[in-house]
């Protein structure tokens, strides 16, 4: 198992609740995850699985009525949940950079992009306006925006979707963060632009030596980008494995179903796709026992009454899954 000292981000037992009419409901249930220094982690899950909330909770940016019920999140050996707001603001945008899904709504429409880039530099790094401006030009060049000297004068609506997402990434990188959290940064983009962004992040990661958390619903997209993958389902981690291991030997029935339902260009075309039946539970209305049990082809009686723990299943301990039927799953393979 990876040593704790090498962990940049270490989340333990994180539980998030939402207030509903009938009292608080759990939407993220005891999540354990960690990111090593220089590691790229892919967090995969479908809508409503809690992947975005988990990341927002780290920065204490949860929306109204949603709060962290318990758990710890250590970043660089400091507990993010216990920090004062002042300290936390230094971390946000400073040591941890964020890139959001929709670059149109996450950029301030009435502010020139140069100023939006300069803002964190002046605030976090105490740069002068002039220095910040030069750094902004440098950053735009870094993310591959042509003509950065002119582009810093542009407003967000004057840029294309791909260019805006590059600006978002530049803002996320502005203060040379130790960790970049990207929440579905390419979902709104076309495939050819998506490929550009992925290549850009790959290059930057090596150049800057930072850790990256890449949140997505698309297992294919991150295959060539990440070192390790954490699969979330209905607010719990169901599988956590190094990337090659996960794609070659998925152990949780959900991961297997998900991988099987993604058609490949390299497969022989078949008329029907493999699919997982049923629907994921609504956030906050998770069934008793394993949340995947109602859709699981291997479900046993115990799955409907008890919640499986995330346990190491490989000798090295780097591959973990939360499933009672994991042995059966191996046989089925």
């Amino acid at each position: 198992m990876m040593k704790t000292e090498n962990r940049l981000l270490d989340v333990k037992d994180l539980t998030i609740e939402i207030d509903t009419r009938s009292g608080p409901a759990t939407i993220v249930d005891s999540i354990d995850l960690h990111v090593g220094k220089g590691e790229t982690l892919g967090v995969v899950g479908e809508s409503g699985c809690g992947k975005s909330l988990t990341m927002l909770s780290l920065m204490r940016l949860l929306p109204n009525k949603i709060r962290v019920a318990k758990g710890e999140a250590h970043f660089d050996d400091r507990d993010l949940q216990k920090m004062s707001n002042r300290e936390l603001r230094k971390v946000r945008g400073g040591d941890i950079g964020f890139v959001f899904q929709d670059p149109m709504t996450s950029l301030n429409p009435v502010m020139r992009i140069g100023d939006q880039l300069a803002e964190p530099l002046i605030y976090h790094r105490g740069m002068s306006r002039k220095q910040a401006r030069e750094r902004a030009i440098e950053l735009l060049r870094l993310v591959g925006i042509p003509g950065p000297e002119e582009r810093i004068q542009a407003y967000p609506h004057e840029l294309s979707g791909g260019m805006r997402q590059r600006v978002m990434i530049a803002i996320g990188l502005a203060c040379e963060p130790k960790l970049l959290i990207a929440d579905e940064p390419t979902t709104a983009l076309d495939v050819t632009i998506q490929a550009q962004i992925i290549d850009l992040v790959k290059g930057l990661r090596e150049k800057l030596g930072m850790s990256v958390v890449w949140i997505t619903h698309d297992l294919a997209l991150i295959a060539g980008l990440v070192d390790r993958v954490v699969v979330l389902y209905a607010g719990t981690v169901v599988e956590d494995a190094p990337v090659d291991e996960l794609y070659a030997n998925p152990r949780h029935p959900y991961t297997r179903g998900l991988l099987a339902s993604i058609p490949k260009l390299s497969d022989a075309p078949a008329s029907r796709l493999n699919s997982i039946g049923g629907t994921p539970p609504e956030p906050g209305r998770r069934p008793q026992g394993c949340p995947f049990a109602p859709r699981c082809p291997l479900a046993m009686d115990i799955c409907r009454t008890h919640v499986p723990k995330l346990e190491p299943i490989s000798a090295a301990g780097s591959h973990r899954a939360a499933c009672f039927a994991v042995e059966k799953a191996r046989e089925a393979a």
Binding site: E46, S47, S160, G161, G162, M163, D190, V191, T192, I193, Q194, A195, Q196, I198, D199, H217, D218, L219, A220, L221, I222, A223, G224, L225, V243, D244, Y247, G257, L258, L259, S261, I262, P263, K264, L265, S266, P269, A270, S271, R272, L273, N274, S275, I276, G277, T279, P280, E282
Partner: protein, 327 residues
């Protein structure tokens, strides 16, 4: 292929007129669709792929007369649909249906599932009031929903369930042709596969013809008979599924295929992508000549000046590119 064309689309053009500037002082034309010709054969699944703004959805909307064509023809049963007003179009609407991208916004939030599915049945007088409940129940069963869902409201259903309702509503008219406009794009991965399988089952059962509009090439490859690739309002390439994926001819098709990520880390890390530089130009001022020439890796002088002809490169394999020789 011996199948007869169900719809013949000839030189279809759709321009949108917009006003730009803070006070709408500049008039401009969006070239959403330019000179698109294709036949849709009976019983086939013809897919249209391309990036946003390429005109694939506009094609679907214009065929169904939901957008009025600027010029060109859509021939169905010997009638040019583009020439029909809404009233004369109505009998054809039954045959030609559409399933939209976003199941959250295409259902009236104030109507129950049963009312939504029953509405076209009553309106087109396909059943009496007494038969209606049974008919709705049968349709819901067809799309894999329990009949008791008839009394539910859309906001009580998940995305996949809503899309099933939308499909049931389209089926209620007993159509021959359905445009699936990004019908699975808004759904979760595990649900996408369910809906695709459902569409394929229904096609088999009712002999439907699909125009499948999508951007996910891997999905398209699994379900299509033929595939068309669009770029900035024009067709770039159209071929049978295997020909398009095995031997793509147009440089844009090649680039598109190389950008599709695969669930294979080894392959993904080692592969050399042919990454297109730059963005899709604005449809307000499309480039002269071949519209792809600004991003094309093999653009020649002629591509800047002359619009490439839409020609058969091989039998049934149409392409618009100067670098590809015709037959």
């Amino acid at each position: 292929m011996g199948a007869q064309p169900l719809l013949k689309i000839e030189n279809l053009v759709k321009h949108f007129h917009v006003r730009l500037g803070a006070f709408g002082e500049r008039a401009a034309t969006v070239h959403a669709l330019d000179d698109v010709s294709l036949d849709i054969l009976e019983g086939e699944t013809l897919s249209l792929v391309g990036e946003s703004g390429c005109g694939k959805s506009t094609t679907g909307f214009t065929i169904l007369n939901l957008h009025r064509a600027t010029s060109g023809k859509v021939l169905y049963k010997g009638e040019d649909l583009t020439a029909l007003d809404e009233k004369r179009m109505r009998p054809f609407r039954r045959d030609l249906q559409i399933v939209f991208q976003d199941p959250y916004s295409t259902l009236n939030p104030r109507m129950t599932v049963g009312e939504a599915v029953g509405e076209p049945i009553l309106f087109h007088k396909l059943a009496t009031k007494a038969e209606l409940d049974g008919k709705v129940a049968a349709l819901l069963t067809d799309v894999g929903l329990p009949p008791r869902f008839a009394s539910r409201y859309p906001h009580e259903l998940s995305g996949g369930q809503r899309q099933r309702v939308v499909i049931a509503r389209a089926l209620a008219c007993q159509p021959k042709f359905i445009v699936c406009d990004e019908a699975i794009s808004a759904l979760d991965v595990s649900i996408q596969a369910q809906i695709i399988n459902l569409l394929l089952d229904l096609q088999e059962k009712y002999g439907l013809t699909y125009l499948f509009i999508a951007h996910d090439l891997a999905v398209v490859r699994h379900i299509s008979t033929r595939v068309g690739v669009m770029y900035l309002g024009r067709l770039a390439e159209l071929a049978s599924r295997d020909a398009l994926f095995e031997t793509p001819l147009h440089p844009y098709t090649k680039a598109l295929l190389s950008a599709v990520p695969e669930t294979d880390p080894e392959h993904e890390r080692s592969r050399k992508r042919q990454i297109l530089q730059g963005d899709v130009p604005s449809p307000l001022a499309p480039p002269s000549g071949c519209r792809f020439h600004t991003r094309c890796p093999i653009a020649m002088e002629v591509c800047r000046r002359v619009v490439p002809k839409w020609k058969d490169a091989r039998p049934g394999h149409l392409v618009a590119c100067h670098a590809v020789n015709g037959e």
